[in-house]
């Protein structure tokens, strides 16, 4: 137990040490302090599209506009992911409740849905704010992009309408209509969010992998470009893979968020019934988080390959060039997330896996913890350092490490769902500090990784707004992407802000048990 108690602090210390090394050594050594604008002087100068209106400053220095957009859009993404992932968690939880009639599942499905109901308008507000900021700060880009994507954006507006109908219908019809119709509304919400995400991704993905190397306008009509050309813009190379990656990331994000909020409620409530319930919610959330987590590296590899095939300069920038540190940070967080889940499961189910007869399972968990730590160590290695090439940082090794993490995650998920389904053997409501810390850490890292992923995609195309076609206006006087140290400040503010928002919203939406129920 003594060893187990130290795992989470050890993981946190390792993560902090790595962040210090990243900030002080890796980023400067890899050219991470040099802007992408500086590296594309002639390409940006020769771009066909240049800003014609005066540049609107926002009093935050030369990167103020980028900071504004990053703040608003990453915040929007952190909220939008609640619906993209949370909708599936809510309705699937209700589906399971309808099969086994456990009151806690109904309670949780309702809490998650109300959580979405309350925060839906906040996410939408930041989406609209982001659009307005694009128009004000990058007018040439906004007019061209919104013109190209008129039909997808129009359909997205309709999808928003469908979302509103399904979400509010789902919540307000609870216990007022039949189960089948209620489930229809719930799944309708989840599917409509997915469709809406797909439609906005035509633009988001198109900025990274545009359908052409130039904007070729046609004539007035329903389609303002040749049909094949405009379809290439809409259904661009990274559209599908980005959409599915976001879906997996959102499910994972929401699961870990649920686990973290479950731990907060556990600490906040003093009665046994509530503590038992929130302990169970934490475990349930971790399972959803792990499900999304094992899918992400798989889709991520396809995503990176697609970028490599279609935008080799962006691929080189984020894998080998000045932005490579962002990928290192992302895999560091990914590794820490895998380890947090393993530590949680090992600690929370320790009583079961230590029982006579389960020795092999116990050993397996310890081996997994050791191997996952080694994989994380490989993944965070920079390929190039001031001393030259780092053999531990070879991509072929990293692929092995990533593959092993997925295998471990999938097997552990199977063990958790199938073999550790023995609730009566766990003392629910008696969480150890290690489990609580691991659950909270998983939630914080789950939020952080979404913020980092969003920035990686945006900075991959820097200094372009539409990759290779429309540059960030202002050229060398307004370099992009946001500097490494500045973006850490933005992330820190954003993560603190959303944790506070999620916690206080959760305080309002949570339905606590009035009395203990049989586990």
């Amino acid at each position: 137990m003594g060893l187990s108690m130290k795992k989470v602090p050890a993981l946190i210390i390792a993560l902090i040490i790595y962040l210090v090394i990243l900030l002080l050594l890796i980023i400067p050594q890899q050219g991470g302090l040099v802007s992408s604008t500086e590296g594309h002087v002639s390409a940006v100068a020769n771009a066909s599209y240049q800003e014609t209106l005066p540049i609107q400053l926002v009093d935050l220095g030369s990167q103020g506009r980028s900071i504004f957009i990053a703040f608003v859009m990453i915040l929007h993404i952190l909220l939008a992911n609640l619906y993209l992932g949370g909708s599936w968690v809510a309705v699937a939880t209700e589906s399971i409740h309808l099969r086994n009639r456990k009151p806690r599942l109904r309670r949780l499905a309702r809490s998650v849905t109300l959580f979405n109901v309350i925060l839906f308008s906040v996410g939408a507000t930041f989406a609209v704010a982001g659009m307005l900021f694009f128009i004000s700060l990058y007018p040439v880009f906004a007019s061209e992009a919104f013109h190209i994507y008129w039909w997808p954006l129009f359909l997205e507006a309709l999808a928003f309408g469908a979302e509103v109908f399904f979400l509010y219908g789902y919540w307000f019809s609870w216990d007022k209509i039949g189960n089948r119709w209620h489930q229809f509304l719930g799944y309708g919400f989840a599917v409509s969010v997915f469709i809406q995400t797909f439609l906005i991704n035509t633009l988001a993905a198109g900025m990274l992998s545009p359908g052409s190397d130039q904007i070729s306008w046609g004539s007035t009509g329903l389609l303002t470009m040749a049909p094949a050309t405009i379809l290439a813009w809409w259904f661009n190379a990274t559209l599908w893979v980005l959409t599915f990656h976001r879906l997996a990331a959102s499910v994972s994000f929401f699961g870990f968020l649920l686990a973290m909020l479950g731990m907060f409620h556990y600490l906040d409530r003093k009665d046994d019934a509530s503590r038992t319930y929130w302990d169970l919610v934490g475990s349930y959330g971790l399972s959803w988080g792990l499900l999304g987590l094992i899918a992400q590296p798989l889709i991520g590899i396809i995503y990176m390959y697609t970028i490599f095939r279609n935008q080799v300069a962006s691929f080189a920038s984020i894998m080998l060039g000045g932005r490579a540190w962002e990928m290192l940070l992302m895999v560091a967080l990914l590794s820490a997330l895998f380890l947090s889940v393993l530590i949680y499961l090992y600690d929370r189910k320790e009583k079961v896996i230590r029982l006579p007869g389960n020795e092999r399972l116990h050993t397996l968990f310890l081996v997994f913890l050791g191997v996952a730590s080694a994989c994380g160590f490989i993944l965070v290695q920079p390929a190039i350092t001031a001393l030259g090439v780092n053999p531990l940082g070879y991509m072929s090794y990293k692929l092995v490490a990533l593959f092993i993490l997925i295998v471990i995650g999938a097997i552990v998920l199977g063990i958790d769902i199938l073999m550790l389904r023995v609730p009566e053997m766990v003392e629910w409501g008696k969480l150890s500090p290690t489990s609580r810390q691991a659950g909270i850490l998983a939630g914080l890292i789950g939020i952080s990784i979404v913020a980092v992923m969003g920035f990686v995609r945006e900075s991959a195309r820097s200094p372009w707004l539409i990759n290779g076609i429309i540059p960030v206006p202002g050229m060398q006087d307004y370099p992009t992407p946001i500097g490494a140290y500045q973006i850490f400040v933005v992330w820190g503010i954003l993560i603190t802000l959303v944790v506070v928002i999620f916690w206080f919203t959760s305080k309002v939406t949570a339905e606590h048990p009035e009395q203990a129920e049989a586990v």
Partner: protein, 53 residues
């Protein structure tokens, strides 16, 4: 995932037991998923990226 209720637990401490049909199906799904992961990593990664690079 303990929210789904009690499992059919046999006596003693061991949780090794005869699997239900749906449980076997989940393990098969996990195995298929891992095969897909292996195929993708091979086709998009190792087949194009010689060790050690």
């Amino acid at each position: 995932m303990d929210m789904t209720g009690p499992a059919t637990e046999g006596g003693g401490g061991s949780i090794i037991r005869e699997m239900l049909l749906w449980e076997k199906a989940v393990w098969i799904a996990i195995a298929i998923f891992l095969l897909i992961v292996l195929a993708v990593f091979w086709l998009l990664g190792w087949s194009q990226l010689p060790f050690p690079v």
